[in-house]
Symmetry: D2
Subunit: 416 residues, 4 copies
């Protein structure tokens, strides 16, 4: 079960937490029992399955998970045993028609959706902060750097707009995700459910009803087709890519020798255990940590997808849990840390301007070479590169237009 330690599960103390991953699995069994009831199969009656579980059950289920290879067998037998005390027939109907993977996959989808929604809220906050930064600093000059060296002038607004592009790309992918139920039974044929329901239509309608209660898409079984999982992972990685980009820039530009940016100062954060003066850029360090690990977690999930065989596979599926939980946990943390970083980012435009001034000669070398080209071509350029007093602020090219285009994209994608 350590593999299925999902974001939020840290909160769980002694008592059973219905919001934990174990709780989400119970939600799935519950929705399924309701669907069997609505179809007139299981006996009517209201049971709060969540209430059947208590604090010590997580450990009990975790232990038997090792024996059956997944936690569902133990969960079902425990729920069934306790439900029996209330209603023997209902207990018999619990989980009927499902296989372990149906429950676990559907619970993963529900958890993934919850994570994706939280990440989307953070992305929306970030779009707002970045829009603001791009607008506010659209004309604030800074040195453009490429391959670590000074290149030509840019504005900090352009840098913020480029960060924004990455965030918008990630948001597009997260918004496009789809969250289907998994319900196929032993080998994806719904055979048991069909048998129990009397005919195929009844079986399909039970699955549809369970999907509806859980607000998931109804779908054909996808036990061995993991695009649902890998698209979610790819989208989270794309978000981490975008945040990693931001964090790298902040880590660099907040170095004392550059000092153009600084993380928001918060009492107690970034302290050192030995050096009282230090304010470590902890947000960026941890965001970068997530960005460095997310790609491998997604690769793990693709490997699991590619290892499929049979009607349900022998190990590929099991490798997903740890990667999914840890990718989700790191992403959620990085999402809120990036929001906080961007909201409170300290921008020292004076320092940026001073660097441009001091490095004007290097930053205008390209401009001078164009001037010399123009002389060769006997053709006038708008600015004379030979002029030692030429203002780097006049060599910004299409910066303003490019910022506008990106801001327009951000605006066009706002939700009403």
């Amino acid at each position: 079960m350590a593999d299925l330690f999902w974001p939020g599960d840290e909160r769980a103390g002694q008592a059973f937490d219905p919001g934990s991953f174990l709780g989400v699995m119970v939600d799935v069994e519950s929705a399924w029992l309701h669907a069997l009831q609505r179809a007139g199969l299981a006996p009517a009656g209201a049971y709060d399955l969540q209430a059947l579980l208590g604090g010590g059950d997580l450990a009990r289920i975790a232990t038997s998970a090792e024996a059956s290879g997944n936690p569902v067998v133990a969960l079902v037998s425990l729920l069934r045993e306790r439900l029996r005390a209330r209603d023997e027939e209902a207990a018999r109907w619990l989980h009927r028609g499902l296989t372990s993977q149906d429950v676990l996959d559907t619970a993963l989808v529900l958890s993934a959706r919850a994570t994706a929604r939280l990440v989307l809220l953070e992305l929306d906050r970030q779009v707002e902060s970045l829009t603001d930064l791009a607008e506010r600093h659209r004309a604030d000059l800074m040195a453009g750097r490429t391959l670590t060296q000074h290149a030509v002038p840019i504005t900090f607004g352009l840098k913020a707009a480029q960060w924004l592009q990455g965030v918008l790309d990630a948001r597009d992918d997260l918004r496009a995700l789809r969250f289907p139920i998994q319900a196929g039974g032993a080998a994806g044929t719904l055979a048991a459910l069909t048998e129990l329901g009397g005919d195929v239509e009844a079986a399909l309608s039970v699955a549809a009803a369970a999907a509806e209660e859980l607000q998931l898409e109804d779908a054909t079984p996808w036990h061995t087709n993991r695009a649902v999982v890998t698209r979610y992972a790819d989208a989270l990685v794309r978000a981490n890519d975008a945040w990693g980009h931001v964090a790298n820039d902040v880590l660099l530009l907040a170095r004392p020798e550059i000092a153009e940016l600084a993380e928001p100062a918060v009492e107690g954060r970034g302290g050192s255990s030995t050096m009282p003066q230090k304010a470590n850029p902890v947000l960026s360090v941890l965001i970068r940590r997530a960005a460095l690990t997310a790609p491998m977690q997604a690769a793990q999930l693709h490997l699991a997808a590619a290892a499929n065989v049979d009607e349900r596979p022998d190990g590929g599926w099991h490798t997903e849990w740890s990667a999914l939980a840890s990718l989700s946990r790191h992403t959620l943390t990085a999402a809120s840390q990036t929001s906080e970083l961007l909201t409170g980012l300290h921008v020292d435009t004076g320092r940026m301007a001073a660097v441009v001034k001091q490095q004007a000669s290097a930053l205008l070398a390209e401009h001078r070479s164009l001037a010399s080209l123009s002389r060769d071509l006997s053709r006038d350029l708008p600015h004379d590169g030979g002029d030692a007093d030429f203002d780097p602020g006049h060599y910004l090219g299409a910066t303003a237009s490019l910022i506008d285009r990106i801001l327009a994209r951000a605006r066009s994608q706002e939700k009403p």
Copy 2:
């Protein structure tokens, strides 16, 4: 340059191959020069830049690529030198306004698009073959296997339909890819181009004209936002995931002890250097090879994306080339191998039926347990599981409906 060895480059013998990656970079310089001409900047005149290159140039450029960190500097200086002999002014205008990364990235996009188109053609062929297999074998019984053991009966049509699902998922993602030009100049501001063109509008229109000639999307610069690259990679991986699933099933079911499937027999393929009788399932082995390597290549590209810093980065970008080229090469090979595998797949329905017959007791264990449940519930099920002669073919649940749903999806996505 070994890192930029792209699909098709093997064909290149002694002579310079305009279809090689080097040739594609020349196409980019060429389209850019045309755009400068159309804008009235560079002098009119038709130059075939491809014709300026010869067989030995690849090696020459490769050598200097090590010095400048990329092959563009050497390519431009070589093209400029040779063009000078024909038209000195045109030679001066070559590449003006671009940075190396503009050329290399745009060439990567063009190569990626060419690869994606070829892969899509193969996916279309596969959809056709799989539709055919799913329809033809919709009722051909076989053992459903889960976690390596016999579970409940399925049909081979359902397995083919599940393979089809994976292929459709991959096709959706490949169809959704977008291919933009990269044109930003030194630090993504189009400063040099603006200077040369006289104003921002002129600069933006040169970039737009070049995009149009190359049939790429016009776009704001994305030097440090690599969703273009990672989405392409993720889509290729998704295709490899789907094919790996097929290959794993074929490798298993073509084992002599199972022998339900066989690869198409082709004279000379799968031979052993020592055992004359062997017919190794070479297509599946190589498809599986691609599926096992693709996830890591995509992870490499995400890592590159997450390592972005400055206006153009110091190593992240450079790690993309090898991963992109090798992922594209392996995917193209696997795409055509999967098409060939599916088109000629030998399905032994007799053998499948025999296994079901022989393993009927195991395959109907779930059914028997339902019958016992129904007795407990004093409720009749359509079939009496206690019957020793019960036909596994009656325990297929919603198999036919599920196949129909997947086939309907395939049909709804056909291009007119």
Copy 3:
């Protein structure tokens, strides 16, 4: 702290567990305080630092870990505060001379060593089981399979000996691991400790004394040189590679169509939530899970190593924790599962022999081709391949000698 959830930490319930990772960090602080005392710096006196912590502290420290980027700052401030009540001067000396990374790295080394020792015990058990299997089945014929097809005969003893080779390779690497203390202070110069101790020799001797108490190697600081970590990870991966090989073979050979091997049967293991007859090969599935994930965890640690910069890095270090903890946890589980699998492995030699008999023609095709070669060469071979009654057991080549060589290697490496 979820990233630092180490093997065994699951056991921790409500109360503080001195064996948890948090407890190991306290051991480090404790050994350091003792060393300061022995050097005459900190005041003499016995304090049980472990006793200062209670059940709720883990959560408290975990929360502030997010603020400072690591859990040490919070741990030290909590310990110092509580120690102050007993001995104000001792409290002031706690942690003096160390940086957070010193404590965390040393705790990781201690946890890694504990894990490595447990894994080595399991490897020793496996060497014993495999030696026994190789000896017992040295002459038990089975089909050799290559690229999924029947090749030539082998014995099961040879297969067991090959498994043994992999386990011996892994054991060599685990035995060679070295476990040094990390003690360098803020930037690896031991400046604070030197200042406090009065001279360099005193400082070095404090570090040496702490290493001695913890039974670790004394070492120069390795904040930015992570061979200690990556060698540990590589060795664990090598063990997982060996076990994955075993698990793949068992998963295949335990398929009902082959049925030459079976996992040890244990009441309640491998049950299905819906199919009563099934005995899923759960041990092998979970071993394979670990083998599929370990390589990526090690890659993560190498990436962290390669991302080093400055005297202590900005994110690389932080990516290690989750990968190390999860790799260690999975490896420990897989280690004991493999031992259990091998100890109780059911080998059906009758079934193996039957397959060889039935497939004799295919398994002797190479032999026949040699016979035909010998006729071409007019040279007698010991066996006449044309003989239809030729016994596959006579075509085993050097099988017995090869088994002996591997067994001899196993014996030569036994600890006295």
Copy 4:
């Protein structure tokens, strides 16, 4: 064959290159034929197998490699056909007793050894350069940086010594590598060779003789135990980790705002296609590129190792080639680039000292806090932190001793 494009193969132009990977495979067949001759099996006679191949053969073999899944089948049939013209009986004996994997694996080992030797030469050069840098700059003050911020003073000699540690760690692992022959025949039993040789001893002695000619270790077959491959890969990655560390530091410290280090200036290197003034740190960028990609290549090889099944596997093996070739190629390049970088590294000690002076207050914050501790403890420290004129050069702790320890390690490992 693009997957088997090995370092040095770029050199191959039109003519067949005996040093190419194809040439190495021919060496293996040649050594084997000699061993068969020495055993009195194949007829005596000297044949230069390399001379049988010409320029077009690489392409021919590459094409058929796709059909048989590896290039050996085609190579052997081509060699046999051409040898037949000279000596029909020798042609029949060619490759007898080997399987394709024997040839390919042994050729990989030979190529790996050649690569490892070249890398070791570079590591030796680096040890020399770093020893020199550590000694020369042992007392040259610079700012110690942790988590991007200024921490306490160090010397550049200490930084160089830390780089040296990483290089020494890598060298240890590379020196410990072992390079065995692969010779097992179809399923690792040496059955064909035993049959041809008349008895087991003869067979084993042929394998031993071939190993001797190739100067490889004699070994039991390791078709499914890939520690040979993964240890080589892990060692290369460890070297890249060490170099990546160096490159990251150089990339940072060569930034114009810091400018404490600079890459050796070489005419034509690091030029920009548009900015004449720029000197991009191309060596470090490309070294970093290798360090960012090596971990994933090694993970690929471990995955291949973990995917073993049967006596020779169905895809795992095939995934090795591309990863091994590309890892070797990148590592060789990075090795020589790092040597060049270290040999010519420009160290600006004046600039380092100036930063220390300017940032003295921050760099001595820890020192001041110790002084305040000492006042609390009523205990004298050697230096009074309250002194505003305190020299950061007096707060170096054990720096000199630590440098000496590392230098001593380097010296103790010198080859005589």
